[in-house]
């Protein structure tokens, strides 16, 4: 009797072990990256953008497996609510109330499941927007749903 019970317990343990057998499926645990170190990359921390001009956002995006999409978002930071993700600090103008701040929300699917992508996007900055401190968010995902973001401080000038 006792022995039978022991076997039952052992069978149970075996079931456990088999059920929990390791399957080695490689899963992606690396985030994509945003590289703005290149000479041609724009904007960089503390960059200035002339209102009424057209600038080109440019960054090198990469992932170990396959990139998904990227998104950029430009917002005023007149109230200093937001902070950049960068090491360097930029000088901030005094706090002020927005009248007609520049707003840009744009997302782009990266085609072809690539590992490297040279993101380029033309941005028209209207001539009548408020000059001042802005926050330029760059975000990128990969196919697994990992994401990275960088918040760059920029200034729109007359």
């Amino acid at each position: 009797m006792q022995i039978r019970k022991k076997y039952a317990v052992m069978a149970l343990m075996a079931a456990f072990t088999i059920a929990c057998k390791k399957e080695k499926e490689p899963i992606d645990s690396e985030k994509p990256t945003i590289d703005i170190r290149a000479e041609s990359a724009f904007p960089k921390q503390c960059s200035q953008i002339k209102r009424g001009s057209t600038v080109t956002f440019r960054a090198q995006l990469s992932d170990n497996v396959a990139l998904g999409s990227y998104s950029i978002d430009v917002h005023h930071n007149f109230d200093h609510h937001s902070h950049s993700t960068e090491v360097e600090e930029c000088t901030l103008e005094p706090i002020k109330k927005p009248v007609k701040p520049f707003v840009l929300v744009k997302s782009v699917n990266i085609p072809g499941q690539v590992q490297q992508y040279d993101a380029q996007l033309q941005i028209d900055v209207p001539a009548d927007v408020d000059p001042g401190n802005y926050h330029f968010m760059i975000r990128v995902t990969d196919q697994s749903g990992w994401s990275s973001q960088r918040g760059i401080s920029v200034r729109i000038v007359e």
Partner: protein, 725 residues
């Protein structure tokens, strides 16, 4: 091996238990303080489950910043900490709406789904805690899928009189000062009791001067986490009539807290901080902050009528949560907050939830069977407000009927069975943005964030268990199916959580989560050693999770990453180990280990774990409790070391977390004073001021280390006619 084979095996082994009979009755194996015990639960429906019990005394001894942080030491139990003073329960790696907290028979309902929403319970008002590890849906319905934290108020004295104690305490790390008064009394059959707790704390300290929010270095003044100060006030009152055949007790409580969030990063969002303003005081609470009030009224009644024992529990709760923040125009929100808005400018979110609950059950004997039949019904009404939208308002109605059977075969073997049917309806209310977004064709539209939705859900669940004494071994086995009905936001959310850069989309076609589980417990004592091992296995056929996709939504999601609610197959397994050994009468060595591994078996996150998976950990504790002397009664001194392994298994957007070792010291004694005795306790948590990160902590994602060294001193002053517990 597939799940069917495993379950067939398990069932066969349960069903064959009665065949091996007739060992002598042996002593119950119990581990003191954190114990797995058979006898006590032989009487109740959860007899075949693994239950850990902590008394009020242990809660005081291990006191941390909040209830769940105090309970974190129990193997298989973790706290999802939100700074130093708020936390949410997690059992065997599952938390949020997958753990039910039950106080005085009624399920505690707040906004459990929220990452930064702590459990609204005062740890000083708790008399005893029972932690049921493993699915308990058959007792409590939806939400108890991972386990139950069951709390009960301090019990009334056996004899007439009034007794109580005042507890004064201070914690060095966040300069907490607190006082708790608890009172219990009896006059013949009438009992009464009550409590008041108040505590006030400053910003907590971490062992670093600088934290990195992404690459930006945030300097911390005096190593304090800016704006995490808070206050907590709690009141409890209870009264009733208790006799052998009849009892009726009324519990009334109110919990209130106000606490700040780290000012330099809200969620994942780096925030600009006026350090001159924020560093002026470490006790003020600026934005962002939260304020929560939880009111509870419970009536528990039971009457014995012949062989029947009938229970009726009624409950009313109101959870009122406000989240404050400076208005920030994210996405398409207007740059300046409109003056004609009815919502206050600093009210980011508000949730006002009212919950009505009724449980009726009848326990009776029928031959060797102890049967319980009953049912419960609950209604939740959730209102929302504030300028930020995450989840819609809703009305949820749920009812369930159940039958439990405990069949005593002989003194060594008891079988358990349960069957339960649940029906619930969800009516979520429509919500439209108060501001216009720019859509595809350059239209300006007030986006509908949630459509009106009506859904209803059914679930039939079951549970089978056995406890058996096999020689020196006390074994318990439980298998069963449990469920969780989808939440309003899982079905109907369509909002942007700017603090997480996520656009969260519900899925109206979700079905109730189904889970199959197997829990085993083996325990025995060998001489002066006690041992308990509790492995478990769990399979979800459709686990509901928020899946981060590779897409951004420029229009409805204001450029944020799309997170969609989806369902996938999930497998979980793990075990807890507890060993207690007394080499000498005064010396105790304790070893507590826990391990859990989760894996998604299907869907777009196939191969990944579940979010907030706790890393394996091991606690080694050495306690010395010399005999009482004239001046020192029941003194104790203990040193414990907790090793936590790396957590390499992560899922977006998590980060891998390094392993760590933390040392804690505890000491205490009673100082006789006339006929009573003062209780003095000291704790030094994180003695070496180790800098580490906890994978299950809310602030892990922004790489904020855990609390540094913390010295906790408490003084208990008893009063009244009976001072002995």
């Amino acid at each position: 091996m597939n799940k069917r084979t495993i379950f067939t095996l398990l069932l066969t082994s349960i069903l064959s238990v009665p065949n091996y009979a007739q060992e002598k009755v042996t002593k119950t194996v119990g581990l003191k303080e954190v114990l797995v015990e058979g006898k006590r639960y032989g009487q109740s429906a959860e007899g075949a489950m693994s239950v850990a019990i902590l008394t009020n005394d242990s809660l005081q001894k291990y006191q941390a910043g909040s209830l769940m942080q105090t309970l974190d030491r129990v193997p298989g139990v973790n706290a999802i900490g939100i700074g130093a003073s708020q936390s949410k329960p997690q059992i065997r790696g599952l938390g949020f709406n997958r753990v039910a907290t039950v106080e005085n028979g009624i399920k505690h309902e707040g906004q459990q789904w929220g990452l930064d929403h702590g459990l609204e319970i005062d740890q000083f008002g708790v008399g005893a805690v029972e932690i049921i590890k493993g699915a308990s849906s058959f007792m409590y319905g939806s939400d108890a899928i991972a386990g139950v934290i069951r709390l009960s108020s301090p019990t009334a004295p056996q004899e007439n009189g009034l007794q109580g104690h005042i507890n004064l305490f201070t914690r060095s790390n966040n300069a907490s000062y607190g006082a708790a008064l608890q009172l219990q009394g009896r006059k013949n059959n009438w009992i009464f009791g009550g409590g008041v707790t108040h505590l006030d704390y400053a910003d907590y300290r971490v062992p670093t001067d600088t934290v990195y929010v992404y690459n930006y270095a945030v300097r911390l003044k005096n190593r304090q986490v800016r704006n995490t100060a808070g206050r907590e006030t709690s009141l409890q009152f209870r009264t009733g009539y208790v006799s052998e055949r009849f009892s009726s007790i009324l519990y009334l409580s109110n919990y209130h807290t106000k606490i700040g969030f780290f000012a330099n990063a809200h969620g994942l969002e780096p925030r600009g901080v006026d350090t001159a303003l924020y560093d002026r005081s470490d006790r003020d609470i600026l934005y962002p902050s939260q304020q929560v009030n939880h009111f509870k009224l419970i009536s528990r009644n039971n009457i014995t009528q012949g062989v029947h024992k009938i229970w009726l529990d009624l409950g009313y709760q109101r959870n009122y949560r406000q989240e404050f923040n400076n208005y920030t125009a994210h996405g398409y929100m207007p740059p300046v907050y409109p003056q004609d808005m009815a919502i206050p400018m600093n009210l980011e979110r508000l949730y006002d939830k009212e919950i009505y609950h009724i449980t009726l059950k009848d326990e009776f004997n029928l031959a060797s069977h102890r049967l319980t039949i009953g049912g419960n019904a609950e209604q939740q009404l959730n209102h929302i407000d504030g300028w930020s939208f995450l989840i819609p308002g809703y009305r949820q109605k749920a009812m369930g009927v159940f039958i439990h059977d405990r069949y005593t075969i002989n003194e060594q073997t008891i079988l358990y069975g349960a069957l339960r049917y649940d029906h619930s309806t969800m009516h979520s209310f429509p919500y439209q943005d108060w501001f216009a977004s720019r859509l595809e064709n350059n239209q300006s539209v007030h986006v509908v964030r949630a459509d009106e939705l009506h859904r209803s859900f059914h679930s039939l669940i079951w549970s089978l268990g056995a406890t058996r004494q096999i020689g020196q071994w006390e074994t318990k086995l439980n298998v069963g199916k449990s469920f969780r009905a989808p939440l309003a936001q899982e079905l109907a959310a369509n909002g942007v959580n700017y603090h997480y850069f996520s656009y969260e989309k519900g899925n109206t076609s979700l079905s109730p989560e189904q889970s199959y589980q197997m829990d085993l417990s083996v325990a025995r004592s060998i001489g002066s050693a006690n041992f308990a091992f509790t492995p478990f296995f769990n399979y979800f056929s459709n686990y509901i999770y928020l899946n981060p996709t590779s897409g951004y939504d420029q229009y409805y999601g204001a450029g944020n990453q799309i997170f969609e609610y989806a369902q996938s197959k999930v497998q979980r397994y793990g075990a807890e180990l507890q060993v207690e050994y007394r080499p000498l009468k005064d010396l105790k060595i304790e070893l507590l280990g826990e391990y859990v591994r989760s894996k998604q078996l299907s869907g777009s996150k196939k191969g990944y774990t579940l979010p907030f998976s706790p890393a394996p950990s091991l606690v080694l504790d050495v306690s010395w409790s010399p005999r009482s002397s004239r001046y020192f009664k029941e003194p104790y001194l203990s040193l414990d070391s907790k090793w936590t392994a790396n957590q390499q298994h992560i899922v977006p957007p998590e980060e891998k977390t390094k392993g760590y070792q933390v040392l804690n010291l505890r000491a205490g004694t009673q100082l006789p004073l006339g006929r009573s005795a003062l209780q003095l306790r000291l704790q030094i948590q994180n003695i070496l001021d180790t800098k580490y990160m906890n994978h299950t902590s809310f602030y892990r994602l922004i790489s904020l280390p855990e609390q540094g060294r913390n010295i906790i001193l408490s003084l208990g002053i008893p009063f009244g006619e009976q001072n002995r517990s």
